[in-house]
């Protein structure tokens, strides 16, 4: 009887360990989302620089990605997650409110732009307002890339 209890406990612990190993950490989750935002920004950036023809559908898709990820990302920077394999700086912890306000701004501007960007002219006027949030955050809260 006791052996069966021990074996069952080990099985439960083994399964739990396997599940925990599968669940991505906040660090890897946020890295995935941020890389997706960077990838989404690529073609609109080429359009702004006249290196690719303007395509409204691609711009709208990028804006949706920005707005969507801006809602999820603030929760992926818990205390203690600023050491090791991450470019996020500890100052996020001490300036939490300002840090989160940038995501709020990105969400708001990207959502508004989905309505206000209807053609190339409005794209050139309004897209930089959305995209400027990327640099605003990186300037203060991201370690210089090496």
């Amino acid at each position: 009887m006791r052996i069966r209890i021990i074996l069952a406990s080990l099985a439960v612990i083994g399964c739990a360990g396997a599940v925990l190993a599968q669940t991505p950490s906040p660090v890897s989750q946020r890295q995935t989302l941020l890389k997706e935002m960077g990838a989404a920004a690529r073609e609109p950036g080429l359009m702004l620089r006249n290196q690719q023809p303007f395509e409204l559908a691609k711009v709208q898709a990028a804006l949706r990605t920005f707005a969507q990820h801006a809602k999820t990302l603030p929760g992926l920077f818990p205390a203690g997650s600023f050491t090791g394999e991450t470019a996020a700086l500890p100052i996020i912890e001490t300036q939490r409110a300002e840090f989160q306000s940038i995501f709020a701004n990105l969400d708001r501007t990207a959502t508004e732009a989905q309505t206000s960007i209807t053609n190339e002219a409005s794209f050139r006027t309004n897209f930089p307002t959305v995209a400027g949030n990327c640099g605003t955050c990186h300037r203060t809260y991201r370690r210089p890339q090496t």
Partner: protein, 219 residues
């Protein structure tokens, strides 16, 4: 005169480079153009440093580091050696500023900021060079501010406290006759040569980035 035109244009462009970097332009359009202009001027200055006026030539003022120490010791002891051209400390400031802005210009050519701004040579560079360029272009901008502050402070100090008219000399090209440690007579540089060297520098830089990235270099 070419040296003085260079110096003041260079200083203005460095200030504009800082302003354009912080202006919120996600494409860094003006910052890139200013970078190309600074690179052009640096190339010109290096060539001019071998073929220009006496006081502009590197052979006249660039000295071994121990001479800089000797000069600093002289200053500390209250001796006032005077130089017609750049004094040893000033000489190394010239070298330091040229080196750091050259480094900034080159890393700028090679970086992509992971968002919207890409240098014209980025696509041709291997990944470690791309990452190095981005990291150090951002880091060294702070060092340039420090150098700039020291440079301005030193020249203000020399001109108004030590009564050595350095700022006036850099504007007018003249210093009062005195017992200078470095030269008695100087020759001005050839204006025609200066113009030709500038054309060559411009062709190398602006032609080069166009060859590397087409019109994308200018957007």
């Amino acid at each position: 005169m070419p040296t003085r035109l260079f110096k003041w244009s260079f200083a203005l462009l460095v200030v504009l480079a800082f302003i354009s970097a912080d202006s919120g332009d996600i494409l860094y359009f003006w910052h890139k153009l200013i970078g190309y202009a600074l690179l052009t001027l640096i190339l010109w200055r290096v060539m001019w440093g071998f073929a220009g006026s006496t006081t502009a030539r590197f052979s006249t003022f660039v000295t071994w580091p121990w001479r800089v120490v000797g000069y600093a010791v002289d200053l500390a002891r209250g001796r006032k050696p005077r130089y017609l051209g750049h004094n040893p400390l000033g000489a190394w400031m010239v070298v330091a500023i040229l080196a750091i802005i050259l480094f900034q210009a080159v890393t700028g050519l090679l970086l992509f900021d992971d968002k919207f701004a890409e240098g014209p040579l980025y696509a041709h560079a291997p990944a470690p060079v791309q990452r190095f360029s981005l990291a150090w272009h951002n880091r060294l901008s702070a060092a340039m501010i420090t150098l700039g502050v020291v440079h301005v402070a030193a020249n203000v100090l020399y001109t108004f406290v030590r009564k050595e008219p350095l700022i006036q000399a850099m504007v007018t090209g003249r210093k009062p006759a005195a017992a200078y440690a470095d030269a008695v007579e100087t020759r001005g540089g050839s204006l025609g040569l200066a113009a030709a060297l500038l054309a060559i520098s411009a062709a190398i830089v602006w032609g080069g980035v166009y060859l590397a990235a087409g019109m994308g270099a200018f957007r």
